[in-house]
């Protein structure tokens, strides 16, 4: 078959298309950065996962070490079961802490792993026992109002529904809220 200039142009066209696809994959997409090859899966139970989604990053010290692979609901304990795919290169101690954090004020949610001091490492199928739930903004606000009301009962906010705020108080503990309420004091 004789070669024509049209063949050359079509060849260039197809090569350009392939190069663009490769460029998109490498430069724009996360084909290279998400190159988490071999992974092992561990689970963690949370009472509340907030807005956590499958494929959310799992970070340790701010570095992506894995991804959330699956989120299901456990009907017996009424907890969310989150499966994490973690890079095989990184072994975490058995008493690792799993927290749900938010990137920025209203950004996406991710799981932060804080390594503990145990000698034994997590292996595939293990469960992370120590977890901390997502911070839910509404709970924080109701907690704030509750604290405010207990400070000065004569103010209008004292009429807040105490049942729901009590529940929120139990669910959250007190640590994140103390910092929140401090600047509000006169």
């Amino acid at each position: 078959m004789e070669r024509t200039t049209i063949d050359l142009w079509v060849g260039i066209f197809v090569a350009l298309g392939l190069a663009a696809l490769l460029g998109l994959a490498m430069k724009v997409g996360n084909l290279t950065t998400s190159g988490i090859g071999e992974t092992y899966t561990v689970t963690a139970n949370f009472e509340n996962i907030g807005g956590l989604k499958p494929r959310a990053p799992v970070k340790s010290a701010g570095v992506v070490v894995g991804r959330v692979s699956d989120i299901t609901f456990d009907g017996t304990t009424f907890e969310a079961v989150v499966s994490l795919n973690i890079d095989k290169r990184y072994a975490f101690p058995k008493d690792t802490f799993a927290n749900i954090y938010t990137a920025g004020l209203l950004g996406e949610q991710y799981i932060g792993l804080e390594a503990g001091g145990d000698e034994v490492s997590l292996v595939s199928g293990d469960k992370i026992i120590q977890t901390q739930d997502a911070v839910v903004l509404e709970k924080m606000i109701s907690q704030f109002l509750y604290n405010k009301a207990s400070e000065s009962p004569e103010e209008g906010v004292a009429k807040t529904d105490t049942n729901s705020t009590k529940e929120a108080d139990d669910a959250l503990g007190s640590n994140p809220l103390d910092a929140m309420t401090q600047p509000a004091k006169p």
Binding site: W9, G17, G23, G29, N30, L31
Partner: protein
């Protein structure tokens, strides 16, 4: 009698609606038959693959300039408009994500398909319509050359090959245009622009789904153009009407299919 005149008028309107409707159904069936025939004759046409390559040149390579220039401007406008909204929320670094995702997921495949329908689809319809009007297709049949294998199938496969390539190039050049506006012109940090983009664009869910979309659009646009040309009345007016119908039908088909594909891909 006035009453019977109204009745006759109503019947005439109903008859027209019914005729239009049954005509559409008939055309849909004929189009599906042509699609089946094209697939059936593909093997025969691949034996003369240079015919397909020639058509890739006319539909793909010749559409490059309009597609790339549009992509460049679309990307630049996206960056400007995105920046205007994002800076209100103090997250102008997310502009890279916005430009890349809107181009890869929607604008790349859709705008390319619309441009393709206008640039290449009309050419296909007019060419085949004129071949039919000048009885070239009948002449081929007389020589025992199947016009579907010789004329229709190469153009079909050329469109199917060219569309994903054009859409990928559109996204690439659009992102480049967005980069040029966001980084040197507005002053967004280049590192944040690329790193946010890379963190949020997924190879499988964003890039590959966009390519699948453009493949489907390629099949739809080319098939509509081929059918309108093949079905055109063999007159000057018939060819001109068929060309208009190609653009209208292709655009509507692309936008409708886009909704269906997007909802399907999101639910996956």
């Amino acid at each position: 009698m006035i009453r019977s005149n109204i009745l006759v008028g109503l019947v005439r309107i109903l008859r027209k609606i019914g005729h239009n409707f049954s005509d559409r159904i008939w055309r849909l069936g004929a189009g599906a038959r042509l699609f089946g025939l094209t697939l059936a004759y593909s093997g025969e046409s691949f034996r003369r693959f240079h015919l397909t390559i020639r058509e890739v040149y006319f539909t793909g390579v010749m559409s490059l300039i309009i597609v790339l220039v549009s992509a460049f401007f679309v990307g630049m406008v996206l960056a400007l408009q995105g920046y205007y909204t994002l800076q209100k929320y103090g997250s102008s670094e997310a502009i890279g994500v916005l430009v890349a995702l809107s181009l890869l997921r929607e604008l790349g495949p859709v705008v390319t398909a619309l441009l393709f329908a206008g640039r290449a689809g009309t050419a296909i319809t007019a060419e085949i319509g004129l071949m039919k009007a000048t009885e070239q297709l009948s002449a081929m049949e007389m020589m025992a050359v199947s016009p579907i294998a010789r004329v229709v199938a190469p153009r079909f496969w050329a469109g199917v090959i060219a569309m994903p390539i054009l859409a990928t190039l559109f996204s690439m050049v659009g992102i480049l245009g967005g980069y040029l506006v966001a980084v040197p012109l507005i002053g967004v940090d280049a590192g944040a622009f690329w790193s946010q983009m890379q963190a949020n664009v997924d190879w499988r869910f964003d890039i590959l789904n966009g390519v699948i979309k453009s493949l489907v659009f390629g099949v739809a646009c080319t098939m509509i153009a081929l059918f309108e040309g093949y079905d055109a009345p063999p007159t000057a007016e018939g060819v001109s009407r068929a060309t208009t119908r190609t653009v209208v039908t292709s655009s509507l088909a692309v936008l409708g299919l886009d909704f269906a594909l997007t909802s399907f891909m999101i639910s996956m």
